[in-house]
Amino acid sequence: MPDEGRALGDGVQHCNEETLIRRIRDGERDLFYELIRPYERRVYATAFAILRNESDAEDAAQEAMLKAFKHIGQFRGEAKFSTWLIQITLNEARMRKRKEHVHMMEPIVERQDEEGNYIPRDFADWREIPSETLERKEVRERLAQALSSLGEKYREVFVLRDMHHLSIEETARTLGISTASVKTRLLRARLMLRDLLSPGLDANWSSKLSFAKGTKPW
């Protein structure tokens, strides 16, 4: 059901975007702000998923949006504008990362073979974590930290699919990989995050935060 709602919303948004893009091409350049406004956060989050540094991510996000503006004439509407924008952002962030040789600091999980099955490490029972816990900064920070510790190829897929809600096909197209690879990486990313955040595995992290003694953040 939520997907249907999203699809209808997407349709309306798509029509508005087409009009906006046409008017921007015709010279109403200031409308570009309106076009990108819904995606500012996604663009930043995409850059951050690669660069894992606030100021680098902000700079890459700005540069990506400038490139999108400069090349808006080349956008043919075969993909959604948001997908095109995210693709430009990914390339910008990857380029910067290569230049700065940040890959030297990639986590070990990056080198794992994605073909082999991932075996969950923890089987503690999870009760449902209410989304209200996200109001707490320390919970959001903990989740962001766990995501940062994944290898880049898992982070990219997870961010596009589970945070930006792109479809499997859109994620594959944006990253230039097959849908089968998206599914494999997504499974691994989700299981790794579950292990990293599992209440039974790491008794230390919650005690470092300001939670009541012996209580998990959720």
Binding site: R41, R42, L66, Q87, W126, I129, S131, L143, L187
Partner: protein
């Protein structure tokens, strides 16, 4: 039908995406009823998806939007120019447009850079790819078969093909005819 835990873990993501067939779904559900471990993995994975999918998980630094608009403003309008400045800029734009048109009309007719080229018709034209000046092929940025990474340029696949670049047979494999 009986299913092993390892198989359940392999399909758990597809199960949550509702991408397993009804028979497998029924088998997995039967398994979950009797296996605490797999139920824990299922609940945890579902929680991960729900938590990270929440809008609140995407935070931007304070003032991000303001700084972005400021930078766009500077680049769109080049700050506050004088009338003379606008005239010079307009003249330069006309000259540049002419040069770009000349360059692009030259590149449109360019032959493929490799005689072993595979037709790139299946490659999505707007997909962003990278090329190097001396290379013959275009790649996805993560391709491990890029030989010269020092002078890479990003452009749309369509533009790369117009310039005579051909798809890398490894990273573009899925779009090429076998």
């Amino acid at each position: 039908m009986v299913i092993r835990c390892e198989e359940v873990w392999r399909e758990i993501s597809n199960y949550l995406e509702d991408e397993v067939d009804p028979a497998l779904r029924a088998t997995m559900e039967e398994h979950f009823r009797g296996c605490k471990h797999c139920t824990a993995v299922l609940d945890g994975t579902r929680n991960v998806i729900q938590l990270y999918g929440d809008e609140r998980m995407i935070e931007v630094p304070l003032g991000f939007s303001h700084r972005l608009h400021h930078r766009l403003e500077n680049n769109m309008h080049g700050g506050r120019r004088s009338f003379l400045g606008w005239m010079v800029a307009a003249a330069a734009a006309v000259l540049t447009a002419g040069a770009v048109e000349l360059a692009s009309s030259a590149s449109r007719s360019r032959e493929p850079r490799s005689e072993h080229a595979q037709p790139g018709a299946g490659v999505p034209p707007e997909m962003m790819v990278v090329v190097s000046e001396k290379g013959k092929t275009f790649h996805v940025p993560t391709c491990t078969f890029i030989h010269d990474r020092t002078n890479l340029r990003t452009l749309a696949a369509r533009e790369a093909m117009q310039e005579g670049y051909v798809p890398c047979i490894r990273c573009m494999k899925q779009y090429l005819k076998s």
